[in-house]
Amino acid sequence: MKLPQTPDNENLRLEALQGYDILDTSPEPQFDDITLLASQICNTPIALVSLVDQNRQWFKSHHGIDATETPREVAFCAHAINESEPLIVKDTALDDRFKDNPLVTDGPNVKFYAGAQLITPMGYKLGTLCVIDHSARHLSPIQIQMLEALARQVVAQLELRRLAMLARRREKFLETILGSLPGLVSYVDINFKFQYCNSAYEKWFKMAPKDCVGKSIPQVIGDDAFKIAKPYFEQVFAGKPQQFERSIPFRSGGNRIVAVTLIPDHDESGNMNGVFNLVTDISDLRKNESTAVTKANQLQALFDGMAEGVMVMNANGKIISVNDSALEIIGLNRPQIVGSNAFDPRWTSINEDLSTCSSEELPSYLAMTTGQTQRRRIMGIRHHNQTVRWVSITATPIFKSDATFPNQVLMTLSDITELKRREAERDISNAQLSASKRLLTSVLETLPVAVFGKDIKKQFQYVIWNKRAEELFGTSAEKCLGTYDSDHFTKEQADFFRSKDIEASLSSEIIDIPAEPAQTAAGTVILHTRKVVVRDDQGKPSILLGVSEDITAKIEAQKTIHDQQIKLIASTKMSALGEMAGGIAHEINNPLAIINGKASQLKRMLRKPDLDIEKLTTELTKIEATVERISKIIKGLRVFSRNSDSDPMERSSVNQIIEDTLELMKERFKFDSIELRVNCPPDLWIDCRPTQITQILSNLMSNARDAISSIKEKWVALDVKINADRVHITVTDCGLGIPHAVVDKLMQPFFTTKEVGKGTGLGLSISKGIAEDHKGHLRYNPNSKHTQFELELPIQQPLQVTLPVTKSA
């Protein structure tokens, strides 16, 4: 047996065979009809449509036998496909190729074989249409031609089948695509009835596409929607394709914004068959579009609203985009600036030193050529009208994907004109500051007091030491600055200073050390030191400033003044005495006149014979009393005039003191027609220096007398009250109080409201001193309706100064 040869184009041939997708398919009548015809025409019991596969022949139709396939080695057809003419084997027993073929020797006992090749339009021989007989025989040429014709019919059938399959595939593909489209795809006939609907109809209208088919448009999409769509359809039926976007209220699913395309379907002769409909929901798209527009608007607003100026320059240095702030800074409007470059004559870039900025210095140029961001370059933009806006420029290069060189530069401009103006002001104020610093230094150096400063944060290290401090302490500034108190003073003194320093630095007030002895270059001096804390901008203590004054001389001078004051006080007393002299003289002259008169009367009585002894005695007693009265006045004067400062306190009768006082004052009061009202509890004793209390009271009474001289109904009241262990003596006059401005100064030495020469201004200050010596007070009572002074004294003085009552015998 001879094995069939494999055709040269075997691979392509097999591929073509696969392309028909026929192997192992069920029998089909059109093929079976052909094998029936072939067996009838050739008058053979067997006819086959045999397709030669890689390793087998497979029968698409087998008439007369049951077999569906045989191995390729034994297949007659495998030989036939190598022939260009039909293969006719009249008697297999006589043919070397087939005589020992199992199909010959065994069932189906092939004796005769005739096979016409199945040749595809491309020329591939897929197999044969063959007829077989069990006995040797031959075919007439007509029969052979018929067999060949039938073979061509087989191929034609195969072709049809293939095309139908392709069509089915295409349709399925189309259907899949249309089905997967979110939009509607349909075909509507001229009666507005759906002929095709894709699966989107189910989603949109809850109707299966097959249910839609045959239904009218309004039945599917709803009447409202159809009302809108109808005019478009009429246009399409007139042959004009329609494309529109509308918001359409569909039957179910509500309003949708849709893009609709309607394409007319008409044949070549122009008869209208229907309309292809494409409907796409673009609601979301529109929504997204509007969002995108909003976003773009927002970005633009942001861009324009930025306080910083922003410009974008292209690689040629041309400004291609600019925001409002940048326009404002440069001083041009958008059309003027867009497309211009940094060398526009309408503005000039200048450096901080006001020189014109060269092109190589421009940040945009540097950013473009180096690819490096130029940060915060300070530059001026001089407008045409010569005004300059100062800006801080940052130029950032922008690269296009992987480009090495930037294609754009983003420039941001911060307007720092105001900042710069303030800076300039600060420079000026700094200059002024340094001027005032110099002034301060020179003031410090010329001050006649020692000024020193200690840095609180550095443990009170000396940081200021003026010239006078150098002189006073004999330490140069050079030696002192940077050192501490402990480097200069004894530990005790340094500790004292430190404690005061801390006190001052914690206080917001001036710490005053009125007198402290200190060792200086000139020996021990008395210093009056004031310390105050200087705070920094944050209000934290920074420098402790001290001012020390050498008050040694001052204290001596004060002592002198004090001495002089004492003398003055004494002379004041004398002047008060002089003031009283008139009254006193009268006071003495009156009793003298009495004595004189009585003496004359007595003399006359003695001359008379009948001497009235009784009357004589009475008159003489009167003279004695009058003399006693004079001696009292003299005693009062003596008491008043002597210095009693060092007298011991003695237990004294307040009544007696008042009486002594009034004795001296009575005459003046009488003369000035001042009524005296005295109210004092009897038998009241206090520890005091009575002379001094008399001095206070007579001072108060005398002031009262002077103050009310112009009042018509004059009175002065002297009242004594006891309050626990203290005595309150008030002197009230009929005046209506003392003006506020005067009250504060009342007790100051040398303050007086009296005419020049009438008072020394010492009375109250001395009186106050006396009251305080007695552990008492002398004060003006501002709450009284009438002018009132109050002398408050303790009834008992502390034991050590109290002497037992000494009553003169």
Partner: protein, 132 residues
């Protein structure tokens, strides 16, 4: 009696002094009325025709000078002679003239000299003061 028929007002707050003066002039025959201050004196003058007024200078409730000013102002039917007794106070010459003061005495004054001066001012020529 040299002062018979004449009325003399004595004004002094010091009772002892008033007494002495009153007794002196009564002993000379005068009708003496007394007052302890200027205010009282003014009342006395209105009810008595006074020929002379001897007054103290300093008195509570109306001093001597203001008493005399008030009397002048009253324009009485007879103009009394004024005599002033003061301590050591200086009386201005203007006051003496304008108030028509006859004499100013300083305390302690001489009784005889006072009596003689008052008598002379009232036109009493010879007055015997040997027993005065």
């Amino acid at each position: 009696m040299p002062f018979t028929g004449l009325t003399i007002l004595i004004v002094d707050d010091e009772e002892a002094l008033r007494d002495i003066l009153a007794e002196d002039f009564r002993s000379l025959g005068a009708n003496v009325i007394e007052a302890k201050n200027g205010a009282t004196a003014l009342v006395q003058i209105k009810s008595h025709k006074c020929d002379a007024i001897i007054t103290d200078l300093r008195m509570p409730g109306g001093d001597g000078l203001s008493l005399l000013r008030k009397i002048q102002y009253l324009k009485l039917p007879i103009e009394p002679k004024f005599f002033l007794c003061s301590g050591t106070d200086q009386i201005s010459q203007d006051d003496i003239r304008s108030l028509n003061i006859s004499e100013v005495f300083e305390k302690p004054y001489n009784r005889r000299s006072l009596a003689r001066t008052v008598a002379r001012a009232l036109g009493i020529a010879d007055i015997d003061l040997t027993d005065f």
